[in-house]
Symmetry: C2
């Protein structure tokens, strides 16, 4: 073995390769090698070694063997992914279905109470109000106690996690329980809350827990974190997919909402899991006799022959633009409420002390206003979200022959036909009340989303526009003698997609409505409205999820504004932190200890020496901690102890010197040493002087890095890297920090924080504070810092031999450096004139 290493080390690969491969393969087969993460790479290493072995026997013919092995391995791995995704889909479908069942039960219970008490209005009111208040308070309290991370939508957190930031507490079993139970109660209360955002979180929790479970059970590839991230992004798709039984829309929505750059190779995972999950979810409904077969959740029955006329498109476009403004307003309102409550110190203090008061108050207010015999009668207050949506997507026109006549066969007809009040007033009241109620309700500290309420408001607004159109064109559109009346239900579908698209800044809500309604006939109006709504909303406000990310101060990377070319003027050297924490090859354990005690960084840079500063790699904090504990740990202490008593004990204990008959003296020595050892280990803290002396001595030793995992290729940038390039690299690779080097020397570090500051300083997003732009006047070639000067000085010393009389000195200063971003974010720069200048000044 030793010999073999020697051969290979000096580049003589050929001679004993076969022998070496065999030995290596045998060694691997015996499982000698365990890498850092335990079992993970064992199979692959093994198969590769075996391949090598066989390949060595007959280099040409064995390619086939190698190939078939590779293929088998590939298939087995894919199979594993499949199993995981199927399990995930199954689990989520079950969770989703059980939750739906529980929520429906809760809502039925409220209706039953409300219906049973109709003799006494006061009793009825108390029952109507108490029920949601109790549920919401329980939900808030339960979540607060068990896992406060379960509060809210979960999409902002998932976006941050998929961005590469570790938020471990968001993916625990406690959070799962809190989220599922809290969400069921919150939705069961009948408040205007959604389940789509929390479902994304629940699905991710499922995936994370399932990964852990599978890793514990089978080990292997389930330990791979890269793989787990891929599974998380599939889980997001599953969440949306089985919430709406909309696999395609779910995948697209989750991509749009959580990713910046999407790896197309993960695409099939999302589709597979979401489809399977949606399938099981609907199959459960069929098996439970709720449905005859698998159909859409909110099936519409618009006519297929002539869904809409070309002349109706302007109305759809106006609806889209209006929804865009509405969506921006919703996001603004939502943020305003949160910020108001935070700024008002007295309110804030009170709410912090009595956390359950706020949700209870909000619930009381909302349920009072929707009380059906009260104001609720003018806004279909007694309908659940599901019932309202079904009614709004109805394919008949409500206003034409009066609502009363046509509505008889829908069970919810009494909700929309009020004897005294016009249909339009009901609709307008419905939209306005639901709008602010949803904005307020989604700020409650319970697990809840805002998608569904917004979707409902959009549907209501669309229905309103549709009914207005139906009144304006009572004869409908006439084509070739056939009269096609206007379908207000189609407008409701368009409005729902447009408003939810505007709030979330997504286009895929269009696909979600097709899957929800089971009809794609309105594709063009929906697409036009959604795109217009997005254009308007994106110009005015960040998306709801980005807004929450900012409110919650989660680590994130803002998008670069479109076409902001001036940002290319900022370079890494303007934003980097120059005071980097590092350890050197000759650091002592004491330096390590200090570093660990004073800083909180997850990784530390390893440089060659304090003078050269050449970056060798980076080491994780955990690795350093283990190095330190190795040096000062129990094992070492025992060794120290043994050293103290070494000569005597070793004589007796050494197995090679076992003598047939041991003398009494020997035995007493052994016993004495054992007692001494035990005493020393047990009462270690009782020998303060000796210990501290030993510890000090240990700490002064230089660190032995050989047992430590070092990342030899941490991400490096150079000082001149433009902000645009840095942003692209950070978001593509999901980095959270990168070292800045200048000719191999470590000069700084850039983390997400600095980058965010730099971008926010130069990008203006309405509603976000604008910092003064990082004014770097490099465009004129003037920025020079100390490090660059010394760098150049060094460069020049080397170049003293260069003849410099040929350089035109006169026209160096008045030219300026220019740069541009071209071809794949590569920055080209005129060689800085001041660099030239310095070079020749020094020479």
């Amino acid at each position: 073995m030793q010999k073999c290493f020697q051969y290979l080390m000096y580049g003589r690969y050929t001679q004993e390769l076969g022998v070496y491969a065999k030995v290596e393969a045998a060694r691997l087969r015996d499982g000698e090698v365990r890498d850092g993460s335990g079992l993970r790479r064992n199979t692959s290493v093994r198969s590769r070694a075996a391949d090598l072995l066989e390949y060595e026997k007959d280099p040409c013919a064995k390619c086939q063997v190698c190939a078939s092995r590779c293929q088998k391995f590939l298939i087995s791995r894919v199979g594993e992914d499949w199993i995981f995704l199927i399990l995930l889909g199954l689990l989520m479908a079950l969770v989703s279905w059980v939750m739906d069942y529980a929520i429906a039960f809760c809502q039925e219970a409220q209706k039953w109470m409300h219906g049973g008490l109709d003799s006494n209005l006061l009793l009825q009111y108390i029952a109507w109000v108490t029920y949601p208040v109790v549920l919401i308070t329980f939900s808030a309290g339960f979540t607060q106690i068990l896992a406060p991370q379960a509060v809210g939508s979960g999409i902002p957190e998932m976006k941050t996690i998929l961005r590469g930031v570790v938020l471990k507490e968001y993916l625990t079993f406690k959070t799962f329980v809190a989220k599922v139970i809290g969400l069921t109660c919150a939705l069961g209360s009948g408040m205007p809350l959604g389940k789509e955002g929390p479902f994304v979180h629940v699905a991710s929790l499922c995936a994370a827990l399932l990964s852990k479970f599978m890793a514990a059970l089978f080990g292997g590839s389930y330990m791979n974190e890269l793989r787990n991230t891929e599974m998380l992004s599939a889980a997001c798709a599953v969440g949306v997919g089985c919430c709406f039984a909309a696999p395609i829309g779910g995948v697209l929505f989750s991509i749009e909402v959580t990713s910046t750059f999407f790896a197309v190779r993960n695409y099939w995972r999302g589709f597979f899991a979401a489809t399977f999950s949606a399938f099981i979810f609907r199959v459960l409904a069929v098996l439970n006799q709720e449905e005859d077969t698998i159909t859409a959740l909110f099936k519409t029955r618009f006519r297929l022959d002539f869904p809409f006329d070309l002349q109706e498109l302007p109305a759809f476009a106006i609806l889209g633009v209006a929804c865009g403004f509405g969506g921006a307003l919703f996001v603004y309102l939502n943020r305003l409420i949160v910020e108001c409550m935070r700024k008002q110190k007295t309110i804030n203090k009170f709410l912090l002390r009595k956390r359950l008061v706020y949700p209870a108050l909000v619930t009381l207010l909302v349920s009072t206003l929707t009380f059906p015999p009260g104001l609720g009668q003018f806004m279909a207050g007694q309908l659940t979200q599901h019932e309202s949506l079904v009614a709004l997507f109805d394919n008949r026109t409500w206003c034409r022959q009066g609502v009363a006549e046509e509505f008889d066969y829908i069970s919810h007809h009494h909700a929309w036909k009020h004897p005294q009040v016009n249909l339009f007033i009901t609709l307008i009241l419905f939209i306005i009340m639901k709008f602010w109620m949803s904005a307020v309700a989604t700020t409650m500290p319970v697990p809840c989303g805002a998608f569904m309420p917004v979707f409902l408001i959009g549907a209501g607004f669309g229905r309103l526009v549709g009914e207005i159109m139906a009144v304006m064109f009572p004869d409908g559109i006439q084509v070739d003698g056939t009269v096609y009346p206007i379908v207000p239900g189609g407008y409701a579908v368009v409005g729902a997609a447009a408003l939810s698209g505007a709030v979330t800044h997504t286009v895929s809500t269009a696909v979600i409505v097709f899957e929800l309604t089971g009809q794609i006939s309105h594709i063009l109006p929906v697409m036009i409205a959604v795109i217009l709504a997005n254009a308007v909303a994106q110009a005015l406000q960040p998306s709801l999820y980005d807004s929450i990310i900012r409110i919650k101060k989660l680590p994130y990377l803002p998008e670069l504004g479109m076409g902001h070319h001036e940002k290319y003027n900022i370079r890494v050297e303007d934003i980097m932190v120059r005071d980097v924490r590092y350890i050197t090859l000759n650091s002592s354990y004491r330096d390590l200890q200090e570093m660990l005690l004073t800083g909180q960084l997850r990784t530390l840079a390893l440089v060659e020496s304090r003078d050269s500063m050449i970056l060798l790699g980076s080491i994780e904090r955990l690795q350093l901690q283990s190095l330190l504990s190795q040096q000062l740990g129990r094992q070492r202490r025992l060794e120290y102890l043994r050293q103290l008593d070494t000569t005597e004990v070793d004589d007796c204990m050494s197995p090679s010197e076992v003598r047939p008959a041991q003398t009494l003296d020997d035995q007493s020595k052994i016993i004495r040493s054992i007692i001494l050892k035990g005493l020393f280990v047990c009462f270690w803290p009782l020998f303060p002087l000796q210990i501290s002396e030993w510890e000090e001595q240990q700490l002064d030793e230089p660190v032995e890095f050989k047992n430590c995992k070092i990342d030899p290729a941490p991400f490096q940038l150079v000082e001149q890297t433009s902000l645009h390039k840095t942003h692209t690299i950070f978001s593509l690779l999901g980095l959270d920090h990168a070292y800045v080097t200048s000719m191999g020397r470590l000069v700084g570090v850039v983390s997400l924080k600095e980058l965010r500051k730099a971008i926010e300083g130069s990008v203006t997003v309405t509603g976000v504070k604008v910092r003064p732009p990082l004014a770097s006047f490099r465009d004129s070639g003037n920025s020079t810092n100390v490090s660059e000067v010394t760098e150049l000085h060094k460069l020049c010393i080397r170049h003293r031999g260069l003849s410099i009389n040929k350089f035109a000195w006169s026209n160096i200063n008045d030219k300026h450096m220019q740069h541009e971003c071209k071809n794949n974010c590569r920055t080209l720069t005129f060689l800085p004139n001041h660099l030239c200048k310095f070079v020749f000044n020094f020479c």
Copy 2:
């Protein structure tokens, strides 16, 4: 100005900043600054300078001004994008519609000829055969002469271009003309060819040409290449979108087919352009009285209430799996045909000489076999692709009450009901014949795609399965007393999506069929079948487009196989090219000339000196060429001339010394010098000796890099970077090469070629030759090369002072280096033991 620079240069930013900013702003306003690409960054620089100016006046209050300016700028830029996308959509819709019109006309003409000659079978046959042969031959010839790049689908090329590889000749006006006319003729011939792939190419051509046009007209941001790439990816979506009037499917399909990593921020561009284009495309049909309103292209009328039963799902799954095998077979067959023809040297030679013979022969064969009175009568030979699809998607069952009775009201009924032959035999014959015909036809050197033929075959196969199901379950599925018969049309839709998905390795064909048929009711069966088909096909063969990329030997980057963790064992140092071409800071122009003459690289590395090898940046070839021509150009020659005659002329010409009366002698001097100058410039080549001497002298001068654009941050990797990480970085950033540095020193370069070789050496894709794996036994920490040794030697010299007696020498050699890929592709490595060893060996 000069003073201002001085201040800024030494870090005193505060004092004269206001003054400086004003001067700077004025300078910028006068347009002094033009960066490399001309006008591109002018506006942005201007607005920023103005912002700075105002910001300087009142740092706090002016944030608002800055913000509003930024916003305005943002909106104006988005506006520009919109305009471009609208124009692109409009253009493509028009092109698409005109082409469809021309194709329909061609097909009508053939039918008319065929119908008019039914008295004489021979004449009819000749007419039936000649027409497509002439069209295809013309198409092949025209394309060959005008632009051979227009041949084939275009998707593989677009994939390569979007990957970052410049294939300029694929985006010229000539190619556009050749593609449009060639495609129209090819499709007009009625051969089994598709238009979807070429449409992607046509749309990209449109976008590229439109970009050029807009850049010439308006300049500004249209010059930005990054932006152009974004527009190209939108154009791909437009191509698919307006080919099928399927905007959503178009966007998704183009993403899946052309991207590896997709930037979600480009999403809306695709959607916007594709929707607009699809809208205009359908509006043109309405305006032309072809349609009453905007509807789907292949509208189906399946029942909505109960589209399919749960018990039918296994049949759909089997259909999907079968389609997966079929798809893989199609790709294999297609490649086999091309490879056969290439290998057969006699055939190959003949075909190369007579390029038009092959397409003519294939067309003759195919059209003979589909001749309606001949074999064509058993396989619906007289129907066009469009008619066949409409028939196959029919919502009635063909086999149940006999085809004859029910088929009367479709115009194509006679095609499928043959008096003597069973419907099943017709369908099977149709599938088999179309299968190989399509595979052969798509190898012809004409602009053509394979999507539509495959789609049609899939629909036929689905219909077959559906009809078999209908025979097996003649009573359909009974639920609650209502009998729902089986809908074979639904199976046809599922089959079409599954087979086209299998051939192209995409899931989005599911969305395309929903948009094509206007019905989404079969969403679950379609998704299940498409996913299963993909799983099977991906395990067996590369996608059709990847297969073509390999056949055409386009530069590409293969995907890393799933779960191939053993590939992490290969590092950059194993695959890099060590013989890098570089120039140094003290290179002479002669070195530059040699470098330019001998190499063909697009960029060259700039290192500090031959000894230090410290990488300073990279320079584009064009820049070096311009440097060289500056040194030896006309301007310099004139200067040289002036120097020769300098004293005499300057005396007379100097304006400060204009004397009232010039002597005759002075005048003669001036005239003499002018004549001399003129002679010298005109007859420069006549003074060979003097010139060569001067040139030699010029070439020996060291290069002045100050007027040269240098990329100060070319992409760098370290030797230890794993293959997986390299692959990710290359595909994410679209690099085509990266330098490998070791502590700032240039040690190698990796290009796409090396990476491809490395990956193909270790990944096995069936049908692609497997190279022996790059066996690097680093797993055992043994690979050491010369450069590493010298590197470490240097390191050690610096560390001589380090006390080394504390290192345990004994157990260094028998430990091994292990590495793993964790957390965002970061590689962690045990510090190589041989490194430790070398360090201390040398000390």
